[in-house]
Symmetry: C2
Subunit: 310 residues, 2 copies
């Protein structure tokens, strides 16, 4: 990657601009809204100053200078070898934007979409140069959580996936490849499986919202912040993953059997959970708590950087 | 808690002894095996020295001195106000041990079992003083991961649960209450839900073992190491958990619908995952990797202690 364009300058787009600029790459940022274009530089600077405090960046000015906000789509994308599309998550909006992007890019450019759920085939089918498009789904915010899911559409040029995987690694993200489109990709399917079980346990009156949260925050989530579920079980039986699966596969299959008839999260259940959450955190406090979460994420990332990987 | 007994001196029992001794409580540790009794003090001292290195304990000698290994069950439990049972996880073994414990304890003692899956009603029904027994299931190792699940049997004295919850908090653990017995309790049901989805994604050829692991270790697991799944989604939509559930409930219900016919983890699939794991970590390296995991856990816990909870 030598020149990057970011299309869509909201929270996700601004975070992406920061990711590429932090890696030394010049970025052109475009948003159709003038308000968002005007707000972007100060939002990005605020994030950089937060990161500076946690030792996650050095030279705030140099990084900020690499990000140029431009006021036309063509200006943003025409010279880019990589375009990160981060506009509003609705298929019709993305279809229109991708048609515009596809018409303006170089033949060899690659376009990754930040879509968290809509697969690329739903909004790039009619786009010019559609073989250059795929999903590059980040976790929010992308400059703090490094994971990116790369998901090709059926017509994505197969050479693009390994190229983007390497390029994402070079800018400090952690890319994974989802071999073909599936609803929710990998991350939200894993999150959804745990959430669905959490809601079902709550619905059955087995534990409170706070106690289910504690189970993860002081139990399961500790190991999962530095190793995945397969490695976790590989180290949880003397003979490794095979040994673990043989000991506990039956239990886990039996648990799955309990959920053969999944209920949607009902309005009553949502209201019940909301009431418990609003007791510990009033609605006006949500924003301050999100800022706390971001500070905790920055501290955790800074901590992880100092840890040996073996 | 003024005097604690730990019955079973393996990895889990030794960890528990350390937890109580660290909180200043005298502990009597008993194991039926003389070999295990003899090995326990040096195993505990090794754990304490590791923890000292990460700033998690101060006075190793004082803590070690509080743990007395005794060579009879009656000696261990007769004066204790709390007994932590940590013997081999098989219903018949636990039934025999709990009958012995129940016969030897004070009338007002409480007995928590470390059972990770077998509910207390399966092995305490015939025990003397059975109303004093419940599950107190730790994550392994208990001196590093603070979560403990408290699960009463139908005959557990209802006053015990709040008493043990408070006592566990006082020794520095994070207790949660599971209101009634259910297979896998809360922690392993949540872990199982995510694992079942992970195996299904692997089975469908959607991603590699390593990429599924990365999705958690560099994505989902970061937030989950300091806040639970409900708080995570409460902060992931402008209007809180209600807003999130309304936006995404349909997606997550649809994902659950895909798993209406859960397959067991098949021998072929287990072999496939094992082959990938053994490529990155040979079987003889499992033990060294577990030691690395424990060091990472200690570093993470030390990091978390320095972080503001709001």
């Amino acid at each position: 990657m030598k020149q990057v364009a970011v299309v869509g300058g909201g929270l996700v787009g601004s975070g992406w601009a920061l990711v590429f600029a932090r890696a030394g790459i010049p970025v052109r940022l475009f948003d159709a809204s003038e308000d968002i274009r005007q707000a972007a530089p100060s939002r990005i600077r605020a994030s950089l100053l937060d990161m500076l405090e946690f030792g996650l960046v050095d030279d705030v000015d140099a990084i900020a200078r690499r990000i140029e906000v431009v006021d036309s789509m063509v200006d943003a994308v025409s010279a880019a070898d990589y375009v990160q599309e981060s506009v509003f998550e609705r298929a019709d909006v993305k279809t229109a934007v991708c048609a515009e992007i596809g018409a303006a890019i170089r033949d060899d450019a690659v376009v990754g979409s930040s879509s968290s759920g809509i697969p690329a085939s739903m909004f790039t089918e009619q786009a010019p140069r559609r073989s250059r498009f795929l999903i590059a789904h980040p976790v929010n915010p992308p400059h703090l959580v490094p994971l990116v899911e790369l998901v090709p559409a059926p017509w994505t040029d197969p050479e693009i996936v390994p190229w983007l995987r390497e390029a994402m690694e070079q800018v400090g993200q952690v890319p994974i490849v989802v071999n073909r489109e599936i609803e929710g990709f990998i991350l939200n399917r894993l999150q959804g499986a745990l959430l669905n079980e959490a809601w079902a346990l709550l619905d059955a009156g087995l534990a409170s919202v706070a106690d289910i949260d504690r189970t993860v925050a002081h139990g399961l989530g500790l190991r999962w912040s530095f190793m995945g579920p397969f490695e976790t079980i590989d180290l949880n039986a003397p003979g490794g993953i095979e040994d673990y699966a043989q000991r506990l596969g039956t239990l886990y299959h039996s648990i799955a059997q309990d959920r053969r008839d999944p209920k949607p999260w009902s309005p009553d259940l949502i209201e019940f959970a909301t009431a418990e959450r609003r007791e510990v955190l009033a609605k006006p406090e949500l924003e301050a708590r999100s800022a706390w979460r971001n500070r905790r994420l920055m501290a955790l990332i800074s901590h992880k950087r100092g840890q040996p990987e073996r």
